[in-house]
């Protein structure tokens, strides 16, 4: 680290996972985030944003000059259970937030096995929980966002009410944008009430799972297929019986499969059974029926190109979520370039003109 250390010394801190050559900073306010980003813009430095570090390897690799940790932007600003809204700092851990919300039988419908993931991280890389099958994806939960643009402007979009069509939906655009519009510093999330009863039912086939109209999720892995139910005691009891399988109270969400390579395979929902059939036997997976999302893991990447060709031809994608350094052997982390790359570039340039936040991490070299 040579250029740019000056001026940011007061924010310097140890950031786990940051390369030795990078300056670690952990700003305590949006203004301090702006200070870092203005400095980076002025000096042409590359900034990597770090939440819990669970998805640091997701997207095309970058070499940061500065690693900006959101860990000091983690406070709960307001929680209005009756309005179903939560305003929280980007650095707040999903696990802690969901535990707090559970105290009043609410949820932010974030990923169910988050590990150390943060609210800001999940939003920035666009992860959703399995419950999206019934309650939709993370982008539907983001009501308002405050972000600091690449050139250091503090901008708010959306609003703190559950229904709102005021202005352009910049707050939804930041979901999955890997910080391209700015560092998300706080968000307002739309919460959902958790009904009293829940059950996880093992079923013998997808056809059996269809006996229930709109379950919370239907997940499959190498051990079988499970239907996730929630509702009133009477409803859950009756539906579990209708499915006829072994069931347990509560929800047993699977951990993400582990391996040297982690993949996200996305296909039109009706193709999930075929997608499973195309995975080599030594690939572990969890597949969401009705959604078309499969999280997979493997020790090698040999079969990836073929699976990707099939998925892309079917209108989907095979994306690398994690891989050992240098192991991709020419395989692009994202696959085919997305549409309207020029337009995407023009949009990003309006917010990060020097392209300092995660440059090149998005598909299409953006």
């Amino acid at each position: 680290m040579t250029a740019g250390a000056t001026g940011l010394e007061s924010l310097r801190t140890e950031v786990p996972g940051a390369p030795d050559t990078a300056l670690g900073v952990a700003p305590r306010s949006p203004d301090e985030v702006a200070q870092v980003l203005r400095h980076a813009t002025e000096h042409g430095l590359v900034v990597q944003v770090r939440g819990g570090g669970t998805h640091s390897g997701y997207g095309s690799p970058i070499t940061p000059d500065i690693v900006l940790s959101t860990r000091h932007l983690a406070g709960v600003e307001s929680w209005e259970p009756d309005d179903l809204t939560l305003v929280v700092g980007a650095g707040a851990g999903i696990a802690e937030v969901e535990m707090m919300l559970g105290g009043k039988s609410q949820t932010a419908v974030m990923p169910e096995r988050p590990g150390d993931a943060t609210v800001g991280g999940v939003i920035s890389v666009g992860l959703s929980g399995w419950r999206r099958a019934r309650l939709y994806s993370t982008r539907e939960r983001v009501l308002e966002v405050t972000l600091v643009t690449g050139d250091g402007r503090i901008v708010r979009a959306g609003g703190r009410v559950v229904k709102n069509v005021t202005g352009y939906d910049l707050h939804r655009l930041v979901v999955g944008a890997f910080g391209a519009f700015g560092v998300v510093v706080s968000v307002c999330l739309k919460l959902w009430p958790v009904p009293p009863a829940a059950a996880t039912v093992a079923v013998d086939s997808v056809e059996t799972a269809r006996l229930v109209s709109r379950p919370l999720a239907v997940l499959g892995d190498r051990s079988g297929i499970r239907v996730y139910l929630w509702g009133s005691d009477e409803e859950v009891e009756a539906l579990a019986e209708r499915l006829g399988g072994r069931h347990s109270g509560g929800h047993e969400w699977p951990d993400d499969p582990s391996g040297a390579f982690k993949w996200s395979l996305r296909v039109p929902p009706a193709l999930v059974p075929e997608a499973i059939g195309r995975l080599p036997e030594d690939w572990a997976f969890v597949a969401s029926y009705g959604v078309g999302e499969l999280r997979a893991a493997s020790e090698g990447s040999g079969a990836a190109a073929e699976i990707r060709d099939w998925a892309e031809a079917a209108g989907g994608a095979l994306v690398v979520v994690e891989a050992p350094p240098g192991a991709l052997d020419g395989l692009d982390p994202w696959g085919a370039a997305p549409p309207a790359v020029d337009l995407q570039r023009r949009l990003i340039a309006q917010f990060d003109p020097a392209r300092v936040i995660n440059p090149g991490r998005l598909p299409g070299g953006l």
């Binding site: 009756d82 979009a157 229904k163 069509v165 944008a177 009430p193 009133s232 917010f351």
Partner: protein
């Protein structure tokens, strides 16, 4: 190359679309000079392209002549989003009528001009439906729903249009046709389609939408409850949600509206109740049965007089009739009405309603309320006779006060109708200059030439931090005709 303003515009459009698809007679232009708002514009011509390729031609022609394009579906918008206030081409989407159902993947590619209710009717044989159900669903188009991120009573549980758009075919600047999103989840790259939804035709022209279709639930229960106080109804709404229930709809009608509807329909509504709450739960039979019991118990706890539960379709239709007839009932009160759309946090519903009545009383206006209580989306409605001297001024001043009140109570400018021109200048009360500048930058990146529905959504001068920006369009009135 650039042409002098308007010269050859009609000829170019006729060459591209055929004579019969370009209207320019004064009487025809008048029909397309406004939407369902009160704001009228002066279009140069009206065109009816049939697909993306033809729309692309129109965009290229508009850009070469430097005239605006205002997209229009059925014209049911209430915020003047489809009023051609800057003149130019009104691009009507009604000729884009394709529907490609994909029941296996629970979705459909739908032409922008397809009517909302027609889509659900076509999907019904497959046990599927399109969730957004604005009150105008028998007339409004999918393209209009996408443009305005439309809601409706049933978006409490399922979200607004944006949650149900998986992909879009859009004609953007330069007449480029792009397909954004698709049937697989989480397409890599920026979520441009999500930005186009709700952008009121200002970023490009949507020609087809890939929409999510959700299963029609196997069973439904509809409840009608009357309350001696508005507080009792509002408390019921809160406690229902706290109990872990999100009904498919939770609609509240105040006493003034109930009386108006009852005078018109004679449906036996309790006119002595301070508020009527209509709730609907959908799902498996076991679920809706227990949900209906829970809602009924909560309502009684908060003073509900009668709790009427419909189990048959006929009974359900009867209970909904009052809610759905509300706007019709206004006609026998006064010839004109002004319908507002604002949102407050649900916990502020009661105090906001009381303050709204005070505003109406102060201006001596007839104000009624029927709204989506579950998500705090208020629709105060002022009934008036535009022939009364000075009344328009009073209606607008009261309206401005109501919106300002909602914002003071932590709310938003619009829950489902959009900003258009109607609320454009109020955007400054919701956002800082920097926030508006950020939004203006989105518009600028999409529409560098400024042809797509200019001067909507954002107040003038929003792009305040770039002095070298696109110059404001200066068009002498009537120069094209």
């Amino acid at each position: 190359m650039k042409y002098p303003l308007g010269v050859g515009l009609i000829e170019d459009l006729r060459r591209a679309l055929g004579d019969e698809n370009v209207l320019e007679k004064p009487v025809e232009l008048y029909l397309y000079s406004k939407d369902a708002s009160l704001i009228r514009g002066t279009p140069t011509c009206v065109v009816f392209p049939t697909d993306a390729a033809e729309v692309a031609e129109v965009v290229r022609i508009a850009e070469s002549h430097d005239v605006p394009i205002v997209a229009r579906g059925a014209g049911t918008g209430l915020a003047a989003g489809a009023s051609p206030t800057e003149g130019g081409i009104v691009l009507t989407t009604t000729a884009m009528q394709s529907v490609e159902l994909d029941p296996e993947n629970h979705c459909a590619w739908v032409g922008a001009g397809v009517i909302n209710l027609d889509l659900s009717k076509q999907a019904a044989p497959y046990g599927l439906q399109f969730a957004p159900d604005p009150s105008s669903q028998s007339a409004c188009t999918i393209g209009g729903n996408v443009a305005n991120n439309s809601g409706g009573p049933h978006c409490l549980a399922e979200g607004s249009t944006t949650s149900h758009v998986l992909g879009l075919e859009v004609v953007i600047t330069g007449g480029e046709v792009v397909v954004l999103g698709g049937k697989a989840p989480d397409p890599p790259g920026l979520d441009l389609k999500g930005l186009v939804v709700g952008s009121e035709g200002t970023l490009g022209i949507v020609t087809r939408a890939l929409v999510r279709l959700i299963p029609i639930e196997p069973d439904v229960r509809t409840l009608l409850m009357d309350f001696p106080t508005v507080e009792g109804a509002a408390a019921t709404v809160s406690e229902v949600i706290a109990a872990g229930l999100v009904p498919a709809a939770l609609e509240l009608m105040d006493q003034r509206m109930t009386v108006a509807v009852e005078n018109w329909l004679g449906a036996g509504l309790p006119t002595d109740a301070a508020a009527i709450l209509l709730a609907e739960v959908v799902g498996e039979t076991e679920g809706v049965r227990s949900d209906a019991e829970i809602i009924g118990d909560i309502a009684r706890k908060h003073g509900a007089g009668t709790v009427e539960v419909a189990e048959t379709e006929a009974h359900r239709a009867l209970l909904w009739k009052g809610r759905k007839s509300a706007f019709g009932a206004i006609a026998q009160l006064a010839p004109d009405y002004y319908l507002h759309d604002a949102v407050v946090p649900r916990t502020k519903l009661v105090e906001t309603m009381k303050a709204i009545y005070e505003i109406a009383d102060r201006y001596e206006l007839t104000l009624l309320n029927v709204f989506h209580a579950g998500d705090g989306n208020l629709h105060p409605l002022i009934a008036f006779d535009a022939g009364d001297p000075g009344i328009n001024e009073k209606v607008h001043r009261a309206g401005d006060e109501i919106v300002a009140l909602c914002l003071r109570n932590g709310g938003a400018l619009s829950g489902e109708h959009g900003i258009g021109i109607e609320k454009r200048d109020m955007m400054r009360t919701s956002f800082t200059e920097l926030d508006l500048d950020a939004q203006a930058r989105l518009k600028e990146a999409f529409d560098p030439q400024g042809v797509f529905n200019p001067n909507k959504i954002l107040p003038e001068g929003s792009r305040c931090f770039d002095f070298g920006g696109v110059p404001r369009r200066e068009v002498p009135e009537g120069v094209w005709v």
